[in-house]
């Protein structure tokens, strides 16, 4: 049996998520740089995956071959990912202060060369989903029962390579591949629809042959239901388009362009921590 940390009730998930958000603010403030906006928008998705039972994994051994695989394709939102791994016990809380520091395991974008708990180095957008597709094929070859879950950003969907996966995954009938899109509607240059419009995103994936699920990415019940539904698909890969708010949880950061990537001032740090109490 895989020992599972997970399946916390929704009220507990909310508490976890608040703790993760506090860590994100602390880390980005301490590092002097980072991407708080996307980290905060994806926090609830990560909490639902790692603490709500969305992701099946061994809490003692991240490399247990029976575990679901997780790839953070949108590598820049790794402060939230590191905070989650820390809450799972794979990173000591003290180490989180090393984010983006010289000789740190916690690189500004996740790097498997630096950190054994990172499944796949990412940070250059549009690449993690292809790796996920390879892992899904590997799982089939090995007759594994695990799923491959990839968290992508919406802005990342400008990359052509994402659409190469969109084409290839249904062709190979990979029901074991799940792409969760953090649809916060913003990217580095501003609103996604004002850069290169993505809509109608759901119809596009549907036309490519994916099972498409639309959820509120801050609603744990909706997220958990979608994870279950995704895992019931046998021949179709699933995309979960999780509508989120960039900077979620810190009122003055929500949907503000400045907080895609920034240095947080002491005043901003204190205000944010005050709100996340």
């Amino acid at each position: 049996m895989l020992s599972v940390i997970t399946n916390l009730p929704v009220s507990k998930l909310e508490t976890k998520a608040r703790e993760i958000r506090r860590q994100v603010i602390k880390m980005v403030y301490g590092a002097g740089s980072g991407h708080p906006g996307g980290s905060l928008s994806s926090t609830d998705i990560l909490a639902a995956l790692f603490f709500g039972g969305g992701l099946r994994f061994n809490s003692q051994d991240l490399n247990d071959p029976r575990s679901d695989r997780f790839i953070l394709s949108a590598g820049h939102v790794c402060p939230a990912y590191y905070a989650v791994l820390s809450k799972c016990g794979f990173i000591k809380e003290k180490e989180l202060a090393n984010l983006r520091q010289l000789d740190s395991r916690l690189q500004g974008h996740p790097s498997s060369l630096h950190a054994p708990f990172v499944a796949c180095s990412t940070g250059s957008l549009g690449q993690g989903l292809s790796v996920g597709l390879g892992m899904a094929l590997a799982s089939r070859l090995k007759k594994g029962n695990h799923f491959i879950v990839v968290l992508t950003s919406d802005g990342e969907h400008n990359e052509g390579s994402i659409w190469e996966v969109a084409m290839a995954a249904p062709h190979y009938r990979l029901g074991n591949l799940i792409n969760i899109i953090d649809r916060n509607g913003m990217q580095v240059g501003g609103k996604t629809e004002e850069q290169i419009g993505l809509e109608p995103l759901a119809s596009k994936y549907k036309a490519f042959g994916w099972q498409v699920l639309l959820v509120n990415g801050h609603d744990y019940r909706e997220l958990l239901r979608a994870f279950c539904q995704a895992k019931e698909s046998h021949l179709k890969p699933t995309v979960i388009i999780a509508k989120t708010i960039r900077g979620r949880g810190v009122s003055f950061m929500e949907e503000k362009k400045r907080y895609h990537a920034c240095t947080l001032t002491k005043r901003e740090y204190e205000r944010a921590m005050g709100e996340l109490r």
Binding site: S112, S124, V131, G134, L137, S161, E164, A168
Partner: protein
């Protein structure tokens, strides 16, 4: 005796596949051009065509490698690495993924299609990446050995090969050792460091020049020991490759010798051009100065210098 490197590659991969279930063959819709169709037929479940989509194909190979498989991803050298450098930089090398990339149709060997299909920069692209091993076998025999060596080595490897039927220059069955050159003939006046099938042209004139010819089938890591000991003896070096004179083996040798043991040095390769169409590669070698006569001429000039 002539034999095609890509035929040898297809046969070697098939043999390897029989011995090791972890070996997979991947391509971006070039299975017959890269001769992995035999593998595909024998092991359909271990063959993956990702379509004309090289960026994704590289990522897929990484995913399979991270799960313990040994994927050989084959395409044309202009596309892999040319079309997917960043996927190789981040997904392959920054994971130290056990991915084997094979680029066919090196240099001018695809003469007909012209510039867009002629790979003049692949060595340069690959040798600047940390973690990457770069192989450039001299003939079909060496390709067979290289395929086995690639599979045995844990980590990213890129191998380039020719489209043409090229002369057999090395002994069949010889074990290929990554990072080790082979001295093909001894000489005292000049060291010729060459790579790929074009070495045949150097061997043809080596005697007349009293030149030592080193087959540098691993570009990275460079066999600096053999190169420097030969150069200490001859005092001059000519580098020969079917690749741009910038960034390839010539650059690797020059970077090394200019810092460790500076001697007169000449790089012979494809000048700073993209190539063009021709009826056969020989016409391009003539036009761009990659002929036996030219090698001899440059050799004599170096020796006199």
């Amino acid at each position: 005796m002539f034999y095609s490197q890509r035929d040898a590659y297809g046969e070697a991969l098939l043999e390897l596949g029989k011995q090791d279930e972890r070996i997979l063959a991947l391509t971006a819709d070039l299975s017959s051009s890269t001769r992995i169709d035999k593998f595909a037929k024998k092991f359909p479940e271990r063959f993956f065509n990702l379509g004309v989509a090289e960026q994704n194909a590289v990522g897929v190979a990484v995913g399979l490698a991270l799960e313990g498989f040994i994927p050989f991803l084959s395409s044309f050298a202009v596309f892999i690495p040319g079309r997917c450098f960043d996927q190789i930089r981040v997904s392959v090398c920054q994971n130290k993924a056990n991915v084997k990339l094979v680029g066919s149709h090196l240099g001018f060997s695809n003469s007909g299609d012209g510039a867009s299909a002629q790979s003049v920069a692949d060595i340069g692209l690959m040798r600047v990446l940390p973690e990457m091993v770069v192989l450039s076998p001299a003939d079909a025999n060496e390709v067979r050995g290289a395929v086995a060596a690639m599979a045995a080595y844990q980590g990213p490897v890129y191998m380039r090969m020719s489209r043409s039927k090229t002369p057999l220059l090395t002994r069949k069955g010889k074990k290929f050792r990554i990072g080790q050159t082979e001295t093909m003939c001894r000489g005292k006046k000049l060291t010729i460091v060459g790579t790929g099938p074009i070495l045949a042209k150097a061997l043809a004139v080596a005697n007349r020049l009293n030149a030592e010819v080193i087959n540098c089938s691993t570009i990275k890591p460079l066999d600096t020991t053999t190169i420097i000991s030969s150069v200490k003896k001859t005092g001059r070096v000519l580098v020969l490759e079917e690749h741009s004179i910038f960034g390839g083996l010539g650059a690797a040798v020059a970077e090394f010798l200019s810092q460790e043991y500076p001697v007169p040095l000449k790089i012979m390769g494809i000048p700073d051009v993209f190539g063009e169409s021709a009826r056969d590669p020989e016409e391009l070698y003539q036009k761009y100065g990659l002929t036996e006569e030219k090698i001899e001429e440059e050799g004599v000039r170096l020796i006199k210098s």
